[in-house]
Amino acid sequence: MAKHNDFKEKLIHGLFFLNGLLVVFVLIGIFVLLVTKALPAFRQIRLTEFLFSAKWNPTATFVAPSYGILSMLVSTLMVSIGALIIAVPLGIGTAAYLSDVADKRVREIAKPIVEILAGIPSVVIGFLGIVLVGPFIAKIFRLPNGLNALNGSILLAVMALPTIISLSEDALNSVPKSFQEASLALGATHWQTLMRVKIPAAVSGIIAASMLGMGRAIGETMTVLMATGCAIAMPKSFLQSVQTMTATIAIEMGEVPYNTTHYYALFGIGLVLFIITFIVNMISDIIFHKYQKVLK
């Protein structure tokens, strides 16, 4: 009997090990594919032009084609950082409300609703950007149209909120009860306890949550494709149209002739995106683990 259990144990152990390995292989596979498909682009394009020129016009026929991704890189960062600026305060507020203020019944209703928000398809959010947020922005800022970076930021903020709220709430909940009790015993109010004890104690978890939200915002395609106007010029403000890296790949991949410089350059953009999201996720992971250690 003991022997049998031992075998079963080993089998299950091996199975889980394989599962874990699979994810690693998929990740490495994607990375290798991106690198091998992106590298040939740099036979034609200088790396400095690719990264630091703001001129992207691979289908140019009257002038030489140009392959600079700087304006898209800036657009992607603008839209996702804009989304963070909107989503982080809202997300922390909601998380604090859910973990510390709301009574149990409200929490049981509100939490699933927040999670449903994560399930709304991005194309629906993009549609809202065109018919609702766009005209609203145009009216407030007296612009002729509302297809701009701000519109994209607002929509991405909505999409990043569920991640930020859920993970921030977890972080707040895992602050040891003794911290809160000590603070209250010393005569601090609930508000003071929340602002000066709980949130500072959970800050690395909250930062990790925000970074994961940002990772989601950077990779989002459909919403920004629909709502940001898609103009390739270098953006000068949040009220101008922008075209993110994801939107460029989505627009141009469908018709690009295979194995041309343009085709490889699109994989180059994909590689840059991969590296950015990888770094963002890694930072969030490092911060998250650090915070777990501190609290132990």
């Binding site: 016009n57 002729p144 106007g229 018709e255 002739p257």
Partner: protein, 313 residues
């Protein structure tokens, strides 16, 4: 949970079976957003006439359609531009022999918001506006308002047609790349500073936008894109054939459907959809491409249908 899984698995199996069967007798038409509504209407009428035929029409842009034809993912590629030399080369490499059929004539319409006081432009002015050399409506006699450029994405045939035949240069990078004709018309309804271009079939039905009269050069007369004579004689300066590409001389349902499109009845539907019927020289051209001798403008109905019609009449 288990039942859900079984249902899902069954669904997948059926979907994949459907795909296998579908690819045999379902005619796939793919490509230009400008042609999509028109071809969809043509295919609906045709399918009602010929029960048992199945035609699927999807968009994606002329470039996507032609790429689909090259990769053998569709039977007919709708294209609002002509095939490029590089595309022919790629097609030949894959054993595909693209043959062109002209199914309608489009007068590319330049549209602005209904609130814009401008009502006419020359081709040269349109080119300068899209190249970013004219930036304010006051430079072409309008109010002092910066111009917002609306155009199509680079996979659009109309995007290329404008570049090659109207602008003779590259687009300004401030161009907003929209997904289709309808989206441009929709955006211009709200944007008083905007300018856009759409196929005439879309210009006719769009509410809240103004279709500009266009002159070929300064001093020439301005014409609007709605008058058939102005379009057919080329007095309206931005006209173009709307094409379909097939692989080699078409056979079977593909051939029957194209013959139907070119018949008087098919061309009447083309006009109903806001575009123009093709002139005689294109009919001759099409006959050659299709490998049909003589005119094919007579009704493509089968003899049985003809008899029934005659009997009823």
């Amino acid at each position: 949970m288990n039942r859900f899984r079984i249902a899902l698995a069954t669904m997948l199996v059926f979907l994949s079976l459907g795909n296998c069967f579908g690819s045999d007798d379902m005619v796939q038409i793919k490509g230009s957003d400008t042609l999509i509504n028109m071809v969809q209407k043509l295919s609906e009428v045709y399918m009602a006439k010929e029960p048992g035929t199945a035609i699927a029409v999807t968009g994606g842009g002329s470039g996507t359609g032609i790429a689909g034809l090259i990769n053998k993912k569709c039977d007919i590629a709708n294209s609002s531009r002509q095939i490029k030399a590089s595309e022919v080369e790629e097609a030949n490499k894959k054993g595909v022999d693209p043959k062109r059929v002209v199914v309608a004539i489009d007068a590319l319409s330049i549209i602005v918001s209904g609130q814009n006081p401008i009502d006419k432009l020359t081709v040269d002015q349109i080119g300068k506006i899209y190249r970013g050399e004219i930036k304010n409506w006051s430079e072409v006699g309008g109010s002092d308002l910066p111009i917002t450029l609306y155009g199509r994405q680079s996979n659009s045939g109309t995007y290329d047609f404008m570049k090659e035949n109207v602008m003779f240069g590259e687009y300004s990078p401030t161009l907003k790349s929209m997904n289709g004709n309808a989206q441009i018309a929709e955006a211009l309804k709200q944007d008083a500073s905007g300018i856009g271009y759409v196929g005439v079939g879309y210009a006719k039905e769009a509410a809240g936008v103004k279709v500009l009269k266009v002159a070929s050069k300064i001093g020439a007369n301005y014409y609007d894109p709605f008058n058939m004579m102005d379009v057919k004689t080329g007095r309206y300066p931005i006209t173009r054939p709307l094409n379909q590409y097939v692989n080699g001389a078409p056979k079977g349902v593909v051939k029957d459907f194209i013959i139907y499109e070119l018949s008087e009845e098919g061309q009447a539907i083309v006009e109903q959809e806001g575009f123009f019927a093709i002139p005689d020289e294109y009919q001759t051209y099409n006959d050659q491409a299709l490998g049909v001798s003589g005119r094919i403008r007579q009704s493509p109905m089968r003899p049985k249908d003809l008899e029934e019609n005659l009997g009823a009449g």
